[in-house]
Amino acid sequence: MSNEATLHGHPEVQTVHEVHHDEHGVHHHKETFITKYVFSQDHKMISKQFLITGMIWAIIGGLMSVLFRLQLGYPDAHFQFLEDILGSKWAKGGQIQPEFYYALVTMHGTILVFFVLTGGLSGTFANFLIPLQIGARDMASPFLNMLSYWFFLGASVVMLSSLFIATGPASGGWTSYPPLSALGDASEGSKTGMDLWIISMAMFVISSLLGGLNYISTVLNMRTKGMSMTRMPLTIWALLFTAVLGVLSFPVLLSGFILLLFDRHAGTSFYLSDIFLTETNKALPNEGGSAILYQHLFWFLGHPEVYIIILPAMGLVSEVMSVNARKPIFGYMAMVGSLFAIAILAFLVWAHHMFVTGLNPFLGSIFVLLTLLIAVPSAIKVFNWLTTLWRGNIRFTPAMLFAIGFVSTFISGGLTGIFLGNSTLDIQLHDTMFVIAHFHIVMGVSGILGMFAGIYHWFPKMYGRYMNNTLSYIHFWVTLVGAYLIFWPMHYEGLAGMPRRYFDYSQWLSFNQFGGLNRFISTVAMITFAVQLLFVFNFFYSIFKGRRVMTRNPWGATTLEWTAPIRPGHGNWPGDIPEVHRWPYDYAKDGRDFIPQTEPLGPNESAH
């Protein structure tokens, strides 16, 4: 919008205006195609690698949901093309087979939760924004950062390969509860597919740890002069807490997986006890294990995981919303405090996934209390976002639309969390479609809307070009409306007790009344998925053909990344790194549209 930012920047910064700035980078080194695009140690390139890998996964994972929605919506139909593509084992006569259906839902969950909304979201924006917004040349360890991506890719390759083996990929649900996941005789997917799943997830955990440690040390140690912790944009705060959550909880998940691997192959009995398999007509020798132990280990990560997904989205949304409302984010300290509170509480609520496992009811009651407590910081955030909009001067850029959509779905999904967190209601709602509706809205849809907000907002910084606005608007409105049409009615199915993960409801007297609704949901899901492809097209087309960005600060934002050249080289700023003199939310202050962080306080000006 305005070029004002650069006017107040450092003199040596604004003199540079070429498109290619590599020569001006402080880390002057020769770059070949391999070091620039493949084994890159530049945080910006790594972030793009994460983003594009995540997008590919999102398309695969989304396509899977279209396939199993086809089954749920049209359980009696024959789609010949499915047999042509998938073969007669998985889609006999054009009908998806139960084993394949369960493999699809399992992979859909794993892919979307870990590969898209953790790897794709955190990986992209932590890498891209942390150095640029705190004023660092790169991550604390660019090499570990590169490894983090390559472990992620390795995990992706292993997971992808599991789709092509004869017994099929893991199919015990994305949570992979043993004994089902431990015993190949109990389920086809628990044979080689499960081993590959565990190996892939182990590599994913390593990737996540390497990334996380890097993010934390970069934020703590490498902030530019004047960038105190309380002058960091909320994106950075959110990404910092996310990284802390990941570093503390992923190892527990890994330990759970290793025990599972032992149970599978080393004859141990961590999770196994008293098992007789109908399939083989044999009783297993294992005694004394506890299947519930795995659930504790899993959810000790599993619950922080949902905050690992949603915190970065919250950070991105806070930033985008403030920039486009042309107003400071309301209650900066409360926003940081609530992020902190959420991060702490995230570790204390895991057993609310286990109210009906036979957990001691008293223990359950403690988890009810702690779970509902987490609604307080969430409510603070929502009200602060609403107040940020109040009396703003709102520009509906595509990013802003997605940010508003995020707040809407976060409210809707957050409120249904109050149902599920209350153990009394959880008895009726646990493992029903209500849960599906809840976590898809609050984690899936909100997470992805936040990610879209981030992509649309920082696309000009990433590629030096704009995305097409009209396509973006279509993308937004169809996605938001589609998401509500898909998931809102699902709550009613859940209230009726309709269980999740059912291949076919038609033989159930209690649940077959929703056949028409399921068809409707499936149809909307397909349309919504098709529109996501429009986004993918817009994204790749705009990288090469989008309108060029002509000013450094197209959104009129205060933060540091917009003081860097339009296409920054490795090292981000030619010459010195800019110094910071104020918090990042001086919009509409003292009659000025915005004041960049690099501008010193005026003689009569008070800090916020």
Partner: protein, 350 residues
């Protein structure tokens, strides 16, 4: 063929949308960026309010459409409490939902960009922030209070006179066991399980208490207005006893028994009349992913009057008797096999 056409139509749709989008960008450049931006902003601002209004109407309409299908009145006394809790929660969250969504989209519409408007510098306000920390905290305390009150009532000990039934899940079906006349479940050990020898649960025949235990598959009988306590286990992987009409649910975990109890309010016959559905039965659904047949793991609970229950039970043959009957021709060879009829004496088998 139709698939092919569908894909073709989709592709054309894409192309057309893309061409329009590209054209509109050119138009924007010709018309001037500012004017273009203002027009887009007005359209999106308007859509915000349209979305809000249509959305709220949609929510209301959806509610009207489906409220009759969420299983109606609970068929157990615990379920009444769960339903009450549900309505309290819907009321509180419903109010919050409407207020926050209206504010969100209304603010977005009202404070959309205008050349004349200046954004208001409003970085924080401690009073406001305290209000919206304290008010949700109070609302949640109320919800936690109600929730835990009901939770402890539901998960508390079953009454002494409760009917005890053991439920065991397997891939993919349910096995029920009644303790028989002695009201004691005989001992069992999973290594003894043998479908071939008709010992699905691995009962130990050395234990006399097991001799009168009745084992049935897939259909369970219980008595109206008499508390029933289910002792739940699994033979293989984790299952879950889901009783939608009774608003109950509990995992079946191999190696770790769990329990739940409830009091049925209506017999199956009464429910048939009440719902005007002659096919009605109380279904047990497996609610925990247990393998490829998960969705077929259906059980039935038949709630009957006390007399009907005892009639039914009297007709059931104990598992032990059935096993011995099967074995009878070969039995004389077994060295220590006692007389079949004498179920009080410990008999050693194998």
């Amino acid at each position: 063929m139709s698939t092919f056409f569908l894909l073709l139509i989709l592709l054309f749709g894409f192309l057309i949308t893309f061409q329009i989008a590209k054209a509109s960008e050119y138009v924007g450049v010709i018309r001037g960026e500012k004017k273009n931006f203002e027009q887009h902003n007005r359209i999106n601002g308007f859509l915000m309010i349209v979305f809000l209004v249509l959305g709220l109407i949609g929510v209301y309409w959806c509610n009207e459409l489906f409220k009759g299908r969420i299983l109606g009145e609970s068929a157990s006394k615990h379920g009444e409490e769960i339903d009450k809790m549900l309505y309290i929660t819907i009321a509180i969250t419903g109010v919050v939902f409407v207020i926050t969504q209206v504010l969100l989209f209304w603010f977005a519409y009202k404070y959309q960009y205008s050349e004349k408007r200046k954004a208001h510098y409003f970085p924080h306000d401690n009073r406001l922030e305290v209000i919206w920390t304290v008010v949700p905290a109070i609302a949640l305390t109320v919800l936690v209070g109600f929730g835990l009150f009901y939770w402890f009532r539901i998960t508390g000990d079953a009454p002494q006179d409760a009917l005890q039934i053991e439920v065991t899940g397997k891939q993919f079906g349910w096995i029920f066991r009644y303790p028989g006349h002695d009201q004691v479940f005989g001992k069992k050990y999973y290594q003894n399980i043998s479908d071939k020898d008709n010992n699905q649960l691995g009962l130990i025949w050395d234990d006399a208490a097991a001799h009168d235990d009745v084992v049935v598959n897939n259909e369970m009988y219980c008595v109206v207005n008499r508390p029933v306590k289910l002792i739940i286990g699994s033979r293989d992987v984790i299952h879950d006893v889901g009783l939608a009409y009774f608003r109950q649910k509990m995992d079946a975990v191999p190696g770790t028994p769990t329990t739940l109890w409830f009091t049925p309010k209506f017999t199956t016959e009464e429910m048939k009349k009440k719902l005007n559905n002659p096919d009605f039965v109380y279904e047990i659904s497996c609610d925990q992913m247990c393998g490829k047949g998960h969705y077929t793991m259906r059980g039935v609970i038949t709630v009957v009057t006390n007399e009907e229950y005892h009639l039914w039970l009297a007709k059931q043959k104990p598992n032990y008797a059935m096993v011995m009957q099967d074995k009878a021709p070969a039995a004389p060879a077994a060295p220590a096999a006692g007389p079949v009829a004498d179920s009080t004496k410990t008999t050693a088998k194998n």
